[in-house]
Symmetry: D2
Subunit: 355 residues, 4 copies
């Protein structure tokens, strides 16, 4: 299988760097272009990007010239990964799609558009079918596929097996989110040192609404939102990477913690069946220790580090009907952003949507 | 009014030190004795206690000899404040009560006994009446009065005005608790650095059950638990002092955020009416800023620093019937422990239970 | 004594807020005007300043209108406190001085000018005499007086008694500096979480050079630099407030740790003699505990909280001739910035330089 | 080459776990036994050790029975790695050596014995010759070889090339040490949160004295200490892993930063020549960025993660003759402890001391 040429938009930021890291040796994709804002364009990638990941910046990418974010820069790239900020993404992504690129976007700009798949390959791979509708309706040669907000991905991946096996009526989610979720400069040290911030702009809206679309049913080229209700409260804590979420669930059918644990542990889906390279063997790891999951260890969980989520403390909820409580933790930048988009692109390629 | 002689049991630990700080210049109480474990007994307080509060240890207490925790050591003290660990408290406190002392305890050992008041002076001052029942039934000259667990106090104080004004059917609580809640040596730095721990032993049980007793009705010398249901998920975060709690409420009667805010801000109760010295003028402060309350600033809120709690982000809950969500933060060692016991003792004295 | 009208330039930032806090109830000064950048001008102080100090913003200042930083805004203020950034200070301060104001500046722009006092009132109060020279030479009605860099102040205050009593030939200083030293937004949480940054721009140059001027001799209206040599290495650590410095000294005359301790503890100077309101009774506190000073407790040391520094671990240096080692910790924003300027202004007023 | 059977003493603690991690797939060694204190003996390793490393505990070791620390438990192991606490090591290690084992110890108990090599394979591989002397004198079949204290290893490895190329007369070292250096439970979170502790028991003595032995000359079966003088000041900061040290050097011969940088970067030694499996290709990495090294990235530096140290900010010292300053950071548990002992054992095997 010839490698598919790809590009990364917004390659110098935190999510952009994770894209580069995941794509530089990717078995299916070949990284052809990196773009960034004008300030960085023209520089070598090593100069333009203040690399903060471990391991260090891959040698083979250091000398790559960073290009300005434009259609010209990504010519020849079948897939364009977007780590652009929302406002830029809003302008740029449709142009790229119109020009024939498949845009795999981490931005929130088009997530809730009816004809744009809001995709988690383990959860709603069939929503990809919206791509045809999208191309038709918009008369584009390419298309946009999006991944959900980081907090939503981690939540919904944990909900999916329970949703399938027992049904979910209502979910209450209280998050403890990592600093990296706000971008490299998003949270000042003076704000968060010995403190927490119980507010993250738009995050509650996203988790409460994206969830319904992702778990929704595709019928007649439309997604009808799932009949689940979600309420969330989102908080920033002094942790580098890894969002942790306390979840309270009202199920349709009774399930005890052991049944729920099995449902979660056993869960595999389309990416695992297809053997997609960025798909972890086991997407949901249940940690039975009484004080887990913890973000410091959960953040690189899985056979593909950072792509599995970890669930723990599954217990009966004493208040809700058929109630269950648990904690889930996952890597917000990998499973929750760059890895999510790469997985989307792998599904698209696997399912023949690139041809 | 002559000052009432008092003693502190377990005076060298974190809660013990707060007791000393609150009592050393207290207008109603006179600190007569400090006790601690055998290891510390016989030492000067300055040697025995590794003081970690600001301001520094009061001069007048430095040379006080620390006594062993025994009935003899507290002779002459009408009120005995207990910062003992649960297991020690279980043995020691009944003996002290039998010997005629009023034990104001922060320990959990007797909180759920039917004839022991589990008291928050702003919430259920009438439960003090259990003291007579307790003395009678146990044939004690003294008695035990307890304050709830720190997380419960902060929660229930925030619930009280809403409970009175609108009724509460169900509450979901997700906490982000401070290191000091586990005692000085409770959380190792290697455990919590760049991390969080989503588990605190017995904390969820306490919040879910103590709440019902505190908000319960006193009838025929018994407390019938309130018909509210509580589910909680408790988590430790790297913050020195100040527990923060995300609360989701189902109310009996509809209340919009503005009404709830007014209900909370306007709340004053018996301690404020009586002008008790450790009662903050306004027990619940509503902070309207969109990213508050934060523990670093909330931890010393109030006219008596650390005795007021701060509520913020009051908003509609999209899932629960008559649903409301908010965040509350308060000082777990002052309002949640030592200050709580002192306030209990002040109520006891004000209401004439010492005579 | 009638209160002297004063203004604060750059009143909304971290140092500016400390100025406001120290001046709002000052017995000698009356706060007449607050200025800030254009973005804030016209707003009420409460809106313009994101207050991050404890206790909360004083009520009486909340409604004060923030003015643009200009000569007009400070008319009528005899003393103008400057918390301006270096580049702005460079332009604005001379104009203010020319217009007749006494500018007490925390900025670095004019510290090393030969006719500008670089003042620590406990260390070189006689350098104030440069003010006459400055006015003459520059033909100004007012003048500029500066305080040193925060790290330098804490260092030099600790060096002064030893310099006087034993002579100092060489000093090596390695710092562990607080986040607040970089300003509220200076250090991103992603940079410093679970990390340290061994570099602070220009800080080493400042400590190595300012020290010589401060400890220098005033002769013929000029300061001849002290014959001490200083080498420093400056590092940022995840601590909110309080710079800690490890100092290695080569003394002229032998001194054992006990003698050094006494020299430091006994030290009082002109501000203490004059009873200046912001002068701590004991400017240098020696803490004999083997693991002190620590910034969390040292940051508010002293009878005027934050104005005393704490020295500990005084021990022989095994390498240097007449060698001594110790650790010093002090509040970088109070003693090291705003409090330093206020103390300068108090000295100026006390010594009659305002008339 | 047949694998050498080895055992780990004290296998459940922080250093013990790193031993297990480094040895479980080691090409030269075969892990035959794990020992721990009585409390853990008899348990499966997975139960006995609270694993805190990433990646998770290797599957193949989970079921290994933890044995009591005794001679019997390590029968058949040619090399015994010791992560024992000092006091236990003092008793146990000589018995093991007498019984014929080569004890590669991280404990401090025998480091300064004249006939015990205090070894850094890149620095003083020739000191291994002391083993023969040791066996003779003590009439042991086995022997003890030690690695220095973590802070000393990182320091001395950075000093070695400069010592060889330019000579070093005096060194001043100020450290910022990681939490893990104190063991898992060594530093309480309440002590270090938003704080630092400027004291680490015995650490200054160790760095000041071990350095002289390591850099000393082996003559007539004795090490004569190097004529370098070291003064250190040791401090704990809130960083998980990675000790950072600010070093001020007086050289024998002048060297500018560029020459020093080249001396450090070019440095390779016996372990690299021998291609020892745990030896990093480049033991000293010079990072030219102006704000490096930082422990978060330096802690896993090198081709063998955690075995290289990172030096940065090499600059002239303005005070010392032929003075240089720099910062060095390295992994205290890998290069500074477990990896150090493994490297020692590899050298011993390579050089034929096992036969």
């Amino acid at each position: 299988m010839a490698k598919t040429p790809v590009a990364v938009l917004g390659a110098t930021g935190m999510v952009g760097q994770r894209f580069v890291q995941l794509l530089v040796d990717h078995p299916w994709f070949e990284l052809k272009a990196l773009t960034a804002s004008k300030r960085s364009a023209g520089k070598r990638y090593e100069e333009a990007a203040k690399w903060f990941l471990r391991p260090p910046m891959p040698e083979e990418i250091k000398d790559t010239e960073v290009l300005p974010t434009s259609e010209k820069s990504v010519e020849g790239a079948d897939i364009v990964f977007s780590a652009l900020p929302t406002s830029t993404a809003k302008d740029v992504e449709p142009k790229m799609a119109e020009a024939g690129h498949l845009v795999a976007s981490n931005a929130s700009s088009y997530r809730m558009e009816p004809d744009v798949p809001l995709l988690i390959p383990e959860v709603n791979p069939d929503h990809l079918a919206l791509l045809d509708e999208q191309k038709d309706r918009r008369d584009w040669d390419g298309a946009i596929v999006t991944n959900p907000n980081c907090t939503t991905i981690i939540l919904v991946l944990a909900l999916k097996p329970l949703f399938d096996d027992f049904g979910i009526k209502r979910a209450f989610v209280s998050t403890m989110q990592a600093l990296s979720g706000a971008g490299y400069g998003g949270v000042k040290s003076m704000e968060i040192q010995d403190n927490l911030i119980p507010y993250i702009g738009k995050e509650e809206w996203k988790t409460e609404n994206e969830t319904l679309k992702i778990l929704g049913k595709l019928e007649d080229n439309k997604v009808s939102p799932a009949k689940i209700k979600v309420s969330s409260s989102c908080h920033r804590v002094p942790v580098l990477d890894g969002h942790t979420e306390a979840v309270f669930l009202e199920l349709e059918k009774k399930a005890n913690p052991k049944q729920a644990s099995k449902s979660l542990s056993d869960f595999v889906a389309r990416p695992q069946e297809l053997g997609m390279p960025t798909a972890p063997e086991q997407p949901i790891i249940v940690d039975e220790r009484n004080d887990r999951p913890q973000p410091r260890s959960a953040r690189f969980a899985g056979s593909i580090p950072g792509m599995a989520i970890v669930v723990g403390r599954i217990r009966k909820d004493p208040v809700l009907k058929n109630g269950l409580k648990f904690i889930v933790s996952g890597n917000n930048v990998i499973r929750g952003a760059a890895g999510a988009s790469v997985l989307n692109a792998e599904l698209i390629k696997s399912e023949g949507f690139l041809e």
